[in-house]
């Protein structure tokens, strides 16, 4: 479905120095710096896959999405999307894809969403019968009935995002790019969006690429993740395996019958949190068994579970690492 080989996207940025004199000089002699937004990325995505792009701000995720959707021309490298070269922007290609951006809207601001749906039907040349069927399905799945008659500006952010998503799916894209689709939404609305996106993928076999700051989105939707950092691909594979790699330690969560003091916990492993009757320990993977049996024998344990480190923490550690590396490169 998607094949990307050695994709690079470099910008020439004109450095404008402060001050009038310097500004005048820069008219004649301009100084440029090259920003390497994407610097040699390769991957393949099969039809129907759900892939999450992870990376800190400015890592090149959105740039990659824009290249894949034909909005940006790559500086070099080869990009194929379902037999098309995106930058040629053929109609057949544009009718297969859609990009949903959480921070940019396509809904007509002062008109009801129904008008945007109708507009997209005409623009994407969707047959009436199919349009009606798709719309009915979207309206019932996303519970839009009440919303599509009101001007978009009167909708709440969550309601608007649901309509935004519906507008993007009128032409049943085979390939859906989602750039921070749940940004700013409350937890239950995030969950609604996730469930819907997943079911769209399952029902229509659409391929899905997602970037998000909410790890829950990625965990719930994407069996496969691609980590982009400083414009380079630093990981491509399953989410669990990534967690294993970044944080090989497991967490042992203890619920106790009565409070114990910190000294009795310390020998078991690194104490992450400890209050009154619950304690969380961090231990290397191969020491999990030993720790568990020692805890059971030495402490008044009521309940015990072994978990992976929370995703958010894994990610912030991953990105902090890369930031530290970047710091040394910059110095």
């Amino acid at each position: 479905m998607i094949s990307v080989r050695d994709l690079r996207k470099h910008y020439q940025v004109h450095k404008r120095p402060p001050g009038l004199k310097a500004a005048l000089r820069s008219v004649i002699h301009r100084t440029y710096t090259t920003v390497k937004a994407v610097d040699g990325i390769s991957f393949e995505i099969k039809p129907g896959e759900r892939v999450g792009f992870l990376g800190p701000n400015g890592a090149g995720k959105t740039t990659t999405l824009k290249v894949l959707s034909g909005l940006l021309h790559p500086s070099s490298g080869e990009v194929w999307v379902d037999g098309h070269v995106p930058r040629h922007r053929e109609d057949a290609f544009l009718k297969k894809i859609m990009l949903v951006m959480g921070q940019k809207q396509q809904l007509l601001w002062d008109l009801p969403p129904a008008e945007t749906f109708e507009l997209n039907r005409a623009i994407y040349d969707v047959p009436r019968a199919q349009y009606k069927q798709t719309l009915d399905e979207l309206v019932s799945l996303l519970e839009l009935e009440e919303l599509i008659g009101k001007p978009a500006r009167q909708l709440s952010l969550g309601e608007r995002m649901k309509c935004e998503l519906a507008a993007a799916l009128i032409h049943r894209p085979k390939l859906l790019f989602l750039d921070e689709p749940t940004i700013g939404l409350d937890v239950s609305m995030q969950a609604t969006m996730r469930t819907f996106i997943k079911s769209y993928n399952e029902r229509h076999g659409a391929t899905l690429i997602l970037t998000s700051h909410y790890m829950d989105d990625v965990a719930a939707l994407c069996p496969r993740v691609i980590v982009i950092d400083k414009g380079q691909l630093s990981y491509d594979g399953g989410l669990d395996a990534l967690v294993q790699r970044v944080r090989p330690e497991k967490r042992v969560v203890l619920r106790l019958n009565r409070p114990v003091d910190a000294d009795s916990l310390a020998p078991l492993g690194k104490v992450v949190t400890h209050d009154n009757v619950t304690a969380v320990l961090q231990v290397p993977q191969d020491a999990v068994n030993a720790t568990v049996s020692r805890a059971l024998s030495s402490l008044p344990v009521q309940d015990l579970t072994v978990e992976n480190a929370p995703l958010e923490e894994v990610m912030s550690e991953l990105f902090a690492e890369s930031k530290a590396r970047r710091g040394t490169v910059g110095a």
Binding site: P18, L20, A23, D110
Partner: protein, 263 residues
């Protein structure tokens, strides 16, 4: 109280000047654009006076004085009044006016002093240039009394202009999309470049009492020519104070509506 507000004004002016110093390149561009605008404002005048020596009792040189006042006031409008009040319109649209209302000072004062564009004052220079040329054509200098009266009228004109703007901005609380309110205001103000006696009937009434453009440019020009009846001067002062009070009332009403309506 007054000292506090003067100090606040000083702070805001300083910030705007610092900002303006950063964009010194704009000085040249603004200068060119302002000259260009003055030239286009003169074009219809040339066309009209190609046909006649005097129109509605105004010779070419005298009409130049009216355009001079128009240009001067335009400079004040664009440099000191427009920028901050366009900011209010933006605040209302983005819903960030609440931040302004939270501050412990008068909201109208705060919003009208947020931003100044000092480079736009070049327009005022162009206006003064027109005065000089106008009097050169008339062939005599203005009297001292005339200049003094016209300076008083400068005050009333600025007050009128500001009050009109406050009224326009108050409309922004009621209209959905307000981008073109500024455009509307400047295009209505355009009519002030002609001597008021040109207009008759409905327009004369509108431009004297509803949108007092006549008072803003024609009165000071008449004062410079020692032609302004004393009663008109009194009317201008009383009228502009009345207008200021009216606009203040309307502003308070609109703000009240805004604070009670926003959720």
């Amino acid at each position: 109280m007054l000292r506090r507000y003067l100090r606040l004004l000083g702070v805001q002016l300083r910030a705007s000047s610092l900002l303006a110093m950063q964009y010194r390149g704009d000085f040249v561009i603004e200068g060119i654009i302002s000259l260009f605008w003055t030239a286009t404002a003169l074009a219809p005048l040339f066309v009209v006076y190609r046909e006649r020596q005097s129109i509605a009792g105004w010779s070419f040189g005298e009409a130049l004085l009216v355009i001079g006042w128009f240009t001067l006031l335009q400079g004040i409008l664009e440099g000191a009044i427009n920028p901050s009040l366009t900011g209010v319109v933006e605040h209302i649209r983005k819903g960030t006016l609440d931040f302004v209302l939270l501050k412990p000072a008068d909201a109208q004062f705060l919003v009208s002093t947020t931003r100044f564009l000092p480079w736009r004052s070049i327009n005022a220079l162009a206006g003064i240039g027109l005065f000089v040329y106008g009097f050169h054509l008339i062939g005599r200098p203005p009297s001292l009394l005339g200049v003094l009266t016209s300076l008083v009228l400068l005050g009333t004109s600025v007050l009128l202009l500001y009050s009109l703007w406050i009224l326009t901005v108050s409309a922004a609380f009621y209209v959905v999309r307000v981008d073109n309110l500024t455009y509307f205001f400047t295009s209505i103000f355009d009519a002030a470049r002609w001597p008021a006696s040109v207009f008759r009937g409905v327009l004369a009434f509108v431009f004297t009492f509803v949108i007092p453009l006549a008072v803003m440019t024609t009165f000071p020009a008449q004062a410079m020519l020692d032609r302004l009846p004393w009663m008109s001067l009194v009317w201008a002062v009383v009228g502009s104070l009345g207008f200021a009070l009216l606009s203040r009332r309307v502003w308070l009403l609109s703000i009240g509506r805004y604070t009670s309506a926003s959720s």
